[in-house]
């Protein structure tokens, strides 16, 4: 029995194929995991980007607060978060964080004074890059 064990330990040609196969398996599994994760991430991002739909139910040039209040409704298939608001391409502050779940709706209050009769290009950008933009004329 001792002789057999000694012969096995001394036979280096037997160990090499085992190690190589084991390494190959590990590398293959790792590569597939990375590929699968990347696939999931890529498809999830793509899917969420495609699923964002937000409408403006109402836009109110509020004379009492001198703000521009936008009532947004999330009609898409994913929750949204507003990252930036631009009026006439100038970034504005708003009641951040502003987050809407699916079918949720609420006022987005933009702290920007306005002048009656002026035209404003209001662009609301979500964290995924969706723009909800249009021209509005102050009453």
């Amino acid at each position: 029995m001792k002789a057999k064990i000694r012969r096995f330990l001394c036979n280096k040609r037997a160990i090499t194929p085992v190690l190589s196969n084991l390494l190959l398996t590990i590398v293959a599994v790792a590569a597939m995991s990375i590929a699968t994760t990347a696939t999931y991430v890529v498809t999830t991002n793509l899917r969420e980007n495609m699923s964002e739909r937000v409408i403006v139910e109402d836009l109110w040039f509020n004379n009492s607060t001198r703000t521009v209040d936008v009532y947004l409704r999330n009609v898409g298939k994913v929750a949204i978060r507003v990252s930036s608001v631009y009026i006439n391409h100038t970034k504005q502050s708003f009641n951040a964080p502003f987050h809407l779940e699916i079918d949720d709706h609420d006022w987005l209050n933009i702290s920007r004074d306005w002048n009656s009769g002026d035209l404003y290009y209001i662009d609301i950008v979500t964290t995924r890059g969706t723009h909800i933009a249009s021209y509005y004329k102050a009453p």
């Binding site: 696939t39 495609m50 139910e57 109402d58 004379n63 409704r73 709706h105």
Partner: protein, 630 residues
């Protein structure tokens, strides 16, 4: 082929390449498939949104709901349904349902609403409302002493504790025991205490002036002793304090003899007004020794029923109540209908037995309480105390004599008993019931169900009830009432008018009233309103009543939106906006329209501004339809 397969099997790099390519293809398929699938779904969403076409054709103010009419046949409580059905009352079309009055007897039941105490009767407990039902919930009154007489207080051997002091009783009854001898050693001269005797002054308002004679059953054991009896008199509170010292060392007797003898002394009692009826009259008996003798005694004998009453130790000539009276006058209201009979009932009990009781119903025609006949009942109460007795009398001759011009009535209850202690009158139920016969009546009811989904109570300003009817006699008014679910009865409290409607003969009469207050009391949770239609109850002629229309509606300040869905899709409206120069108001909505449908959406909670406004509806898919009013 075999060669190719063999070569492939031997070429391990070829297998690996195939596997890698296959896996890559799988990943690419997953990525592309996922993206395409989601893209398809979102495109579908966008397509549907583009296809959706909703227009608002009109937005207007709504001030009332449609009429809600009877959904079932009328319940005829009094009267008869002649012809027609409830369907005939659903529209104003001069095609009525007809009812007829029938002759009835009507009972009007009244209970007291107030009371007056007679004499010195004292109110103890209870409320007048306790007299409405025979339920052993009483209104209690206490009698007062109405007559007095000279009485004798006998010294008894039974004891009580008054303010920590042991005292014997003074009772109105004579000795009832084998007797006790109170002794004192005559070794010292002076007043020797023999015993303290008390009588509680419950029900006694005063002890009038009189001459008391105090009798002493006494003896001395030696002829060397010289002694006589006398007393102290005081009023002691139940706590033991002396409220008033009346007299000291009075009612002295003649000298004692060595044999038992009954001696006496007198005292001139002045009037005493009792301060508190829990107080005690206290008599302290003394032996006043003026010549002493060691180991010899003076004695007082009490509560010995072997002695003749005239020989017993006692105090005679004390004037105490001998009769008590309770008197109460109950007042109430009724109506001024033409009664044919009147039954008045008193259910009461006394805390003592056999009270001479008189019940009297005031006769406003003769302006006095009767002393016999109608309106007068005299009886002796039950021998068992606290036994409820129901006494009533029915008056058929001139029952209206027993009310005044406004319908007020009054009953006097008097209880008298010759007794030395007060008692209570316990009134349980008093009823004044008038009966009117020979009157033609009609009373019908039905239920009407408001659509609370569209017209919630909270946005309903009032409920309007409209009746269109015709009568064959116009000699009485007609009334509408609604069922008050809280009070569990028909009522017109909270109505804008409660005076009824006087119809005009030979034409359709419209009678409209509104429930303006307490709406929630009149509308059940499911929107049901019960309406009662009835006559005044004064008609001596039989009347036919034709009901052409009877309905209810909610008065609101709401909004009506006329919508049209021109798209091939079902549309759900999720929001309504009403916008004017000063406010942008959003209302949540949940309204569905089928494809091609024209629909009217009524909102009782949406009030339109009086100035220019824009109304906007938002669909679930994100489309917006606008209506501008200027």
């Amino acid at each position: 082929m075999q060669a190719i397969i063999k070569r492939l099997k031997c070429d391990k790099r070829g297998v690996s390449n195939v596997i890698v390519v296959m896996l890559s293809l799988v990943l690419i398929v997953i990525i592309v498939g996922n993206v395409i699938l989601w893209s398809y779904q979102m495109n579908q969403l966008d397509l549907e949104r583009m296809q959706e076409a909703v227009t608002v054709s009109d937005v207007s103010r709504v001030t009332s709901s449609p009429w809600f009419t009877a959904g079932n046949e009328y319940i005829v409580n009094v009267g008869t349904r002649l012809n027609g059905t409830y369907v005939d009352t659903q529209a104003v079309d001069s095609n009525p349902e007809t009812f007829r009055e029938e002759i009835t007897s009507t009972n009007y039941v009244f209970n007291p609403s107030g009371y007056l105490l007679g004499g010195s009767t004292k109110y103890i407990s209870g409320a007048v409302s306790d007299l409405n039902t025979d339920n052993s919930v009483y209104m209690v009154f206490r009698s007062y002493p109405s007559a007095t007489s000279a009485t004798t207080l006998y010294a008894h051997q039974e004891q009580t504790i008054v303010g920590g002091r042991v005292s014997y009783f003074l009772n109105l009854s004579s000795a009832d025991a084998s007797g006790t001898t109170l002794s004192a050693d005559a070794q010292n001269e002076g007043r020797l205490f023999m015993g303290r005797f008390v009588y509680q002054l419950t029900g006694v308002q005063s002890i009038p002036a009189s001459t008391w004679t105090v009798y002493y059953r006494a003896q001395k054991t030696s002829s060397f002793i010289t002694a006589h009896c006398d007393i102290d008199i005081l009023i002691r509170t139940s706590a033991g304090a002396v409220r008033s010292t009346i007299a000291t060392d009075v009612a002295g007797s003649a000298d004692l003899s060595t044999s038992w003898s009954t001696l006496s002394g007198t005292y001139s009692w002045a009037n005493y007004a009792v301060v508190d009826q829990t107080d005690y009259l206290e008599i302290i008996f003394y032996m006043h020794v003026t010549a002493k003798k060691n180991n010899e005694f003076v004695r007082l004998r009490i509560d010995d029923n072997t002695l003749a009453v005239t020989d017993q130790t006692r105090i005679a000539g004390v004037i105490l109540p001998s009769s008590y009276t309770v008197q109460i006058e109950l007042t109430g209201s009724s109506n001024i209908q033409n009664w044919q009979s009147l039954t008045w009932t008193v259910n009461s009990a006394f805390t003592t037995a056999i009270v001479n009781t008189t019940l009297q119903l005031y006769n406003f025609y003769t302006s006095q309480y009767p002393t016999n006949g109608d309106g007068y009942i005299a009886y002796t109460s039950n021998p068992t105390p606290n036994t409820d007795e129901t006494i009533n009398q029915t008056i058929v001759a001139n029952p209206t004599y027993y009310r005044n011009s406004t319908g007020a009535w009054k009953i006097r209850i008097t209880g008298v008993k010759d007794t030395t202690s007060p008692f209570d009158l316990k009134l349980d139920w008093v009823e004044f019931k008038a009966t009117e016969t020979g009157i033609y009546r009609l009373n019908i009811t039905n239920s009407y169900t408001l659509d609370l989904q569209i017209y919630p109570i909270v946005y309903t300003r009032s409920i309007e009830i409209l009746l269109r009817y015709n009568v064959s006699n116009s000699d009485e008014k007609w009334f509408l009432r609604a069922y008050n679910w809280t009070a569990a009865g028909f009522s017109d409290v909270g109505f804008n008018s409660t005076g009824g409607n006087q119809p005009t003969l030979g034409q359709w009469n419209e009678y409209a009233i509104s429930i303006t207050n307490n709406l929630k009391d009149y509308i059940a949770e499911n929107g049901t309103i019960l309406i009662e239609f009835f006559d005044e109850g004064t008609g001596a002629n039989q009347t036919l009543v034709e009901v052409d229309f009877l309905g209810v509606r909610a008065i609101i300040d709401g909004t009506r939106i006329d919508l049209k869905n021109s798209s091939p899709l079902t549309v759900r409206v999720v929001a309504i906006w009403v916008i004017n120069s000063t406010n942008h108001q959003r209302y949540d909505a949940n309204f569905f329209m089928n494809s091609g449908e024209e629909a009217t959406y009524i909102r009782a909670d949406v009030s339109l501004p009086k100035d220019d406004y824009i109304a906007r509806i938002v669909t679930e898919r994100g489309n917006i339809a606008v209506f501008a009013e200027s």
